[in-house]
Each structure stands twice: as structure tokens, then as C-alpha cells.
Amino acid sequence: AQKVTQAQTEISVVEKEDVTLDCVYETRDTTYYLFWYKQPPSGELVFLIRRNSFDEQNEISGRYSWNFQKSTSSFNFTITASQVVDSAVYFCALSEPVVDKYIFGTGTRLKVLA
């Protein structure tokens, strides 16, 4: 069965600290897609990244980086030098080609304190 686990419910850091948000997924498919979304207090879902299961290369985009490890079924997200504007809820999600829906994790609320 498909499942996404975000064990960290809430994380608080002080500005400029690095922070890693964990995501562990379960799937029986060999082809699947993983996503990260940011949900600021205004409520919309902001797309951050998509990875497919065949591309294990880690990715960096500015202060954001993602570590995809198939061996541990994890797709972790690191924010370097966090800023107050990074405060939001972050969701990890999974999709499989034959199952036409996204499965979201429960989200991690990140609070960055000035």
C-alpha cells in the first residue's frame, strides 16, 4: 500500500540554522514520483520539487536541497541558513503511475524564529 510518513510534527529553529525535514514512503511500485510542497499561513500549496524513482541524484536549489535514498525509502528536505519566511507547513507526497492521485504525508510545521 502507498504511505507517506513525516514523523516530525513540528520543528522550531533559530534563523540561519540548517534544518532537515524527513519523509519516508512506502510503495510496491518500481516507478513512482515524490514531491515536496510548502503551505504558508495563507493556505495555498506551493510546489517545490518532483523526483521520479529512477533519478536518485540529489538536487540543490538555492538554500533548498533534497536527498533521495531508495535504499531507505526516504526523500529528505534540507533548508540551509533558514529564514523567517521559511516558516510554513511542508508536505511530502507520493504518486504512482497507475494510481491517479497524490498521497500526502501529515506535514511538518516549521517555525523559524528571528
Partner: protein, 112 residues
């Protein structure tokens, strides 16, 4: 850049009333979705729609819910008789090709 739009941004309704949430997907997209997020909880899939019919629905999507594409541009979610527990943020999404889905900004539904 094309985007998914949803109206209204916030809807308040009384328990037992019918409500219709509206979405305008991106124009060349063929796959349409509704998701629900109860306050403080995760985003949950409700239904997917393709070729004018439901392709998949979750157990949440019971007989009180229906979807429709009444014309070439709108995609609606109707809740026939709202309950307090229907209070949530409802997200519409559309897709040209799997697996990419583009989410709208959401409609916050409050049932009193």
C-alpha cells in the same frame, strides 16, 4: 503563466445546505482532481475525473458529493447536504499528463 483558479476563496454555509465549489483548470489539461484538507491535517484525495467521468474516488467521496464539468472550462464539486465535518479547505488540481498536478489556491469551506 497559466494557473488553476478557484471560487470562492471562502464559503460559509449552514449545515444541511447544498454548496458548489468552482474551479477553472488550466485550459489544455484533461485530468481534474479534488482534494480536501481539514484544518491542521493532511491533504486527502477525494476524486479524479477524466473524459467526463470519475476515474477514481476515495472512501470520503460518498453520495453527498458529486463532480461535474458543466462546460469546457469549469470543474465543480457539489456537496448536497453539508455537515459540520465538511468544514475544510478544498483544493482543485488539473493535469495535462501524469504525474504533474497543478493545484489551485483552495476554497475554505466553513459549515456552521
Amino acid at each position: 503563466e497559466p494557473e488553476v483558479t478557484q471560487t470562492p476563496s471562502h464559503q460559509v454555509t449552514q449545515m444541511g445546505q447544498e454548496v458548489i465549489l468552482r474551479c477553472v483548470p488550466i485550459s489544455n489539461h484533461l485530468y481534474f482532481y479534488w482534494y480536501r484538507q481539514i484544518l491542521g491535517q493532511k491533504v486527502e484525495f477525494l476524486v479524479s475525473f477524466y473524459n467526463n467521468e470519475i476515474s477514481e474516488k476515495s472512501e470520503i467521496f460518498d453520495d453527498q458529493f458529486s463532480v461535474e464539468r458543466p462546460d469546457g472550462s469549469n470543474f465543480t464539486l457539489k456537496i448536497r447536504s453539508t455537515k459540520l465535518e465538511d468544514s475544510a479547505m478544498y483544493f482543485c488540481a488539473s493535469s495535462e499528463a501524469l504525474p504533474e498536478q497543478y493545484f489551485g489556491p483552495g476554497t475554505r469551506l466553513t459549515v456552521t
